[in-house]
Amino acid sequence: MTELLYGIAVAPFKDMAGSPAFFAEVLIGGVFAGLMYSLVALGFVLIFKASGVFNFAQGAMVLFAALTLVGLIERGVPVALALVLTTAVMVALAWVIERVVLRPLVNQEHIILFMATIGLTFFLEGFGEMVWGANVKKLDIGIPDRSFIVAGIQINQLELSAAVTSAVLVAVLAVFFQRTRIGRALRAVADDHEAALSIGIPLKTIWMIVWSVAGIVAIVAGIMWGAKSGVQFSLSLIALKSLPVLILGGFTSVPGAIVGGLIIGVGEKMGEVYWGPLVGGAIENWFAYVLALAFLLFRPQGLFGEKIIERV
């Protein structure tokens, strides 16, 4: 018992103090991983913010975007043109989703819309596999995947690039939501569909825009994750990694997605490295959820989520 307590409460901290360079490397690794999770979480936040729908298909959208991009590159399309074409495909997909899935379900319960996105997930996975094949594909868009050492700390260039990209994307989206007319309209639609319609906000256009933006975010996430693991079916599973980020950061906050990502990323890396060996390792996945649920005990709406007060 004493040994266990020592392993939990003393040894990890002694270890951190004894190897500060390694501790810094764990922290940096956590920050980078967290920003990668944020990239996926952002797509969820955008759609939830604008429509109150938890888009179960966000992971499948990441997969579909990456498959399209790498499929075009493999067929000899230059990278820049492939990016433009993939963006066009994701915008077209948004249009189809708005026409076929969302429009018939206006004013339905959110759970109905949620179920529709589950159907969309299976469609996108199957359609993507049918069009582009199931093979693992290499995605090389010129981002180097090598490491360099600064003050004894190893830093991966690809992860650093992904971190910078995430930070820029979040900044752009935050400005978009807070400072533009469309952003304000998006927030109005999120608050109440019918009220937004009554003051002349075009609901269908707003949905189309927000799904398009989520599609573009999916492209960025697909590029970063695809460069890390190859483009393959498993990309759609990264949605699972962003769920604790959403729980923690709140479903409606863009900065929340990034702060949540950082806390989850750093938390799970520290948990795995310093406490994982006590239980045989592989605690990274569930530890992230434990961390998120612990936060929920104190802030049920997440760190940055909107507190919902309903009068009955």
């Binding site: 199931a134 995947d145 090598r146 693991s229 190859g230």
Partner: protein, 442 residues
Amino acid sequence: MTLKTLMSGALAAALVAGPMAAAAPAQPKEMFIPLLVYRTGPYAPSGIPIANGFVDYFTLLNERDGGINGVKLTWEECETQYKTDLGIECYEKLKGKGPTGAAVVNPYSTGITYQLIPKASVDKVPVFSMGYGMTAAADGRWFPWVFSFPTTYWSQASAVIRYMAQQEGGMDKLRGKKIVHIFHNSPYGKEANPTLETLARQMGFELTLLAVDHPGQEQGATWLQVRRINPDWIFMSGWGVMNQVAVKEAASKGFKMDHFIGNWWSANESDVVPAGDGAKGYKGATFHAPGTNFKVHADLFKFVYDKGKGGGNKDAVGEALYNRGLVNAMLSAEAIRTAMTKYGNKPLTGEQVRWGMENLNLTEQRLEQLGVKGFTHPIKVTCEDHEGNGPVLIQQWDGKKWTIVSDWISPMRDVVRAKIETAAVEEGKKLGYAMRDCAKEK
């Protein structure tokens, strides 16, 4: 009713039934093999080449030889997506098909194998988990219906350790070295751990076990620990995206790739492609050669692909996992052929095929006749030993293709067999089995 009426009726019935009896179809001269495949889902990149290798070899036998001794092979694919529940559903759906039922079932998943083991003796369908599944079942005295030849995860682990020792200059040279086993956090991934722990104690190397949770897309913490340990060798029991990420991580962290060895589920083309040039030098264990430089491949092109009957893309013939499926189909077919020496050249039941599997003796001469000399190792299965001999090869990725870089490496039978026998007693008793006396069956 008079006797005359009865006789007339009987005669009339005989006149009607006679031609019908003559016209009744004879039992078709074919045998059915269920194929549990995963061509969709996250593991499809591995499942597709395996399934194609299987189907192509059976097609080759039918097209070139008219089946096995005149008995055509038939099969039906059922999609499992590598999920245990779907696998069981597929097995139940297919086990009774064909004129004599399923001849043999290849589960292609350790999870499905574990679920099928208790069913095998009841349904009388042998389970062939070639190089995977429950290692303890290699003791045929306890598990008469389960076969894992030509080798097992435990033999593989010991052979890989022997290879590492050879590279270091001798079996005693691993003392004090640091070896990390990165494994998929599942029963499959953990299979090698007890063997590695035993060998670490015996040989004096420092072993660290690092688990990676499914699916393994994010392995930052694992590779931070690898960097801290700075191991001399890494052995990996991975699966799916875990492999691709691990190979990329090792390359990007600057680990010596020729000191990184994957097991035979971690060394396919799809595992190394995403890392590009970074994967050069990465090694993998195998029990058959890669590539298409064998007569069997020439026959596959001639009799299957050139006739437009190939299961997949012609360019993918010879990939590591394609050849895995090919070997599996070839061993299944040879077991059926062996069974025919006892039961005759006719469609056989699963029970009869089980005898063929247990008496399989694939000699060097027979391998040459099959057009696979040098492609895989001779195998002799016995009542006691359902694993065969268990030697392993090491292949290395050169940036474009896998190349064999070792001789056949014998597993440490003294360590592995003793562990198998102990585990077989434990696992067999869990299932209520009793040990059979093989002497009585000879």
